[in-house]
């Protein structure tokens, strides 16, 4: 990749400062709860003010290393990181559990992660539970009414994007001009694993949103709600999306948000129409036999 002087890759902590109200970030604090500052250093959690309102921030720290789990560096989400992020979400829900819907605080995910911890110790302990646990926490918070907005500032790669981003209500991404990367695997790896010709793949990748890497293709599939073209705009766009999401929740339109909402959007944008058709057919086929199963 060519060097970009404006890229935000590796700058998760800078991004927090660009987005929040000036000097308002209290790292490792959510309501009355304090996190151990040494735990899960690859992720950053805490509370900031955004447009004057308390907001939970969850980000990656690409400059941190985890001494206990050496696979964690460069923004990798390891065992500790995933559980720390999950805890931040549960503590956020706890903080607002008695508050009415409009007062449920927002959660902003700042995404720059190349992967989930790949390693023997990770598999022995079950890395799948760490990343899965965080996703379930986000899904629960989203359904409980917290607006969750993810801002992809750098890398959002495969399972790590599923972990940190794809359970949000709305996903925003800096444009490709900033070197933003959203994909499952680079083409070279896809070519190796699928045994397909790399030249043919390269040719197809210019036009096929279903497998090719890139922010614009994810936009077409509904995976990205809006592309942000200036770093300076991140703050305003995030605030606007938090308000939009909160409004939809207040109107009981949660189905337009989150992964299911992205499916609807992907159909509207023409990038993912077969999914919707398959779902409709399955529903119709069940409806035809439902009596037999409901009244067994």
């Amino acid at each position: 990749m060519e060097e970009l002087d404006n890229t935000m890759i590796g700058r998760g902590r800078d991004a927090i400062d660009m987005i929040i109200d000036k000097d308002s970030f209290q790292e490792n604090i959510i309501d009355g709860y304090s996190f151990d500052p040494d735990y899960g250093p690859g992720s950053v959690v805490g509370t900031a003010k955004l447009n004057g309102k308390p907001t939970t921030i969850i980000a990656n720290d690409a400059m941190a290393f985890n001494d206990r789990f050496p696979v964690v560096f460069g923004g990798v989400i390891g065992l500790e990181e995933g559980y720390k992020m999950a805890t931040a979400v549960y503590r956020t829900m706890e903080a607002d559990k008695d508050k009415p819907l409009p007062e449920k605080r927002a959660i902003v995910l700042i995404v720059d992660t190349p992967g989930n911890g790949p390693g023997k110790m990770e598999e022995i302990a079950g890395m799948n539970k760490s990343t899965g646990g965080y996703q379930l926490a986000l899904a629960e918070a989203r359904k409980a009414g917290h607006p969750i907005v993810a801002m992809v500032i750098g890398r959002a790669i495969s399972g790590a994007f599923l972990c940190h981003g794809l359970q949000a209500d709305h996903i925003l991404a800096l444009s490709k001009d900033f070197g933003t990367m959203i994909h499952v695997m680079p083409l070279t790896s896809i070519a190796r694993i699928t045994k397909m010709d790399i030249e043919r793949l390269e040719e197809l990748s210019t036009s096929n949103p279903v497998f090719a890497a890139g922010v614009d293709f994810f936009y077409k599939l509904g995976g990205v709600q809006e592309i942000v073209n200036q770093v300076e705009d991140m703050r305003e766009v995030i605030i606007r999306h938090i308000d939009e999401v909160a409004k939809l929740k207040a109107e009981g339109k949660g189905e337009l948000l989150g992964p299911w909402g992205r499916g609807i959007l992907g159909n509207e944008r023409g990038g993912r129409t077969h999914r919707m058709e398959a779902i409709a057919k399955v529903n119709a086929e069940f409806a035809a036999v439902a009596d037999k199963y409901i009244n067994a």
């Binding site: 789990f69 646990g133 794809l166 993912r272």
Partner: protein, 319 residues
């Protein structure tokens, strides 16, 4: 194809996705959605010059366990490694959500009998996760499944059934972890990062992917059972899986919730204890952990039959 009675006595490991789907539910009760005659295939594979399958590699449908409707998803590892793309991902999500619709219908119609008629979701995982030929759509489908599972919480049990050749890896590794109950045979494997990728990351000295015994000790069912990531370890017969699902269908939802490993702050804290143990111990092999949990001769465990293993094994004590 084998008839239902033959299937019950057949190996789950050797069975294809459709045989597993048919055999996990009561005799003659399975209705498949978008079956191969519908020929609803992936539109993306031909573009890349790859052959399609008429069921897109995943069998979805509904059957019965007594009066319980069972919404079944069964993945076929022989077709592109059981991986998830746009169409089979959509089928999977739709099938899971139908369980919730059925639950609402049954609650409305049979309020007194809900427990006896409560639906169930059973997913037979045989997959490496995202189908690279349509990677972006497959990735987004994973998130939809996680979302649908969270919707099922406390309403219908979601059961992972893992015991086929490919195992359950990649994104589907955490999808399986996010279910309520996990049922495995001895050959079942669940993980996030596949053995080849770990070897690539850590070097062959640290992790040799061609060492099958090591691979099984790291992600296999016996290890999962010891650390409490597998709720039922059963003999490799489709009928055993059928019987276990029928048992789960009767368990009250409050008890089902206790069988989970993730999905609440308390469970996160419990898993953090395990992570701390692993961080302190820096195990070279899963057997270090088996020994810690009270198995005096861990090297003997992989050799045992399932029945012998279940008799002697010591498991992690849940807090």
């Amino acid at each position: 194809m084998k008839n239902w009675t033959e299937l019950e006595n057949s190996s789950f490991f050797d069975a294809n996705a459709r045989e597993r789907a048919l055999g996990m539910v009561d005799k003659g009760t399975f209705t498949e959605f978008l079956n191969p005659l519908d020929r609803y295939c992936s539109p993306h594979l031909p573009v890349l010059g790859t052959a399609v399958e008429f069921d897109d590699g995943t069998v979805c449908g509904v059957g019965l366990l007594g009066k319980h409707p069972v919404f079944v998803v069964s993945m076929e590892g022989k077709f592109i490694g059981g991986a998830i793309g746009e169409v089979n991902g959509g089928k999977m999500v739709a099938t899971i959500r139908l369980a919730l619709k059925a639950a609402a219908d049954i609650k409305a119609k049979y309020p007194e009998e809900y427990a006896a008629r409560r639906p169930l979701v059973a997913v037979s995982f045989e997959t490496g996760g995202v189908r690279l030929h349509e990677a972006n759509a497959g990735l987004l489908a994973h998130a939809e499944v996680m979302d649908a599972f969270q919707d099922c919480r406390g309403i219908v049990p979601v059961v992972a059934v893992v015991g086929s050749k490919v195992g359950c890896f990649g994104g589907m590794g955490f999808v399986a972890a996010a279910t309520d109950v996990i049922v495995m045979n001895e050959e079942g494997r669940i993980g996030l990062t596949g053995p080849e990728v770990i070897e690539q990351e850590m070097g062959k000295d640290e992790f040799d992917a061609s060492n099958k015994a090591l691979v099984y000790r790291t992600t296999g069912a016996k290890h999962k059972y010891i650390i409490q990531d597998c709720n039922y370890l059963v003999e490799d017969k489709i009928g055993e899986f059928h019987k276990t699902l029928a048992e789960v269908a009767e368990i009250p939802m409050a008890e089902i919730e206790k069988m989970r490993r993730i999905g609440s702050l308390k469970l996160v804290q419990e898993q953090q204890e395990l992570v701390k143990l692993v961080g302190d111990m820096q195990p070279k092999d899963s057997m270090d952990l088996w020994k810690y949990f009270g198995n005096e001769d861990p090297a003997a465990l992989p050799e045992m039959t399932t029945a012998e293993f279940l008799k002697v094994v010591k498991r992690r004590v849940r807090s």
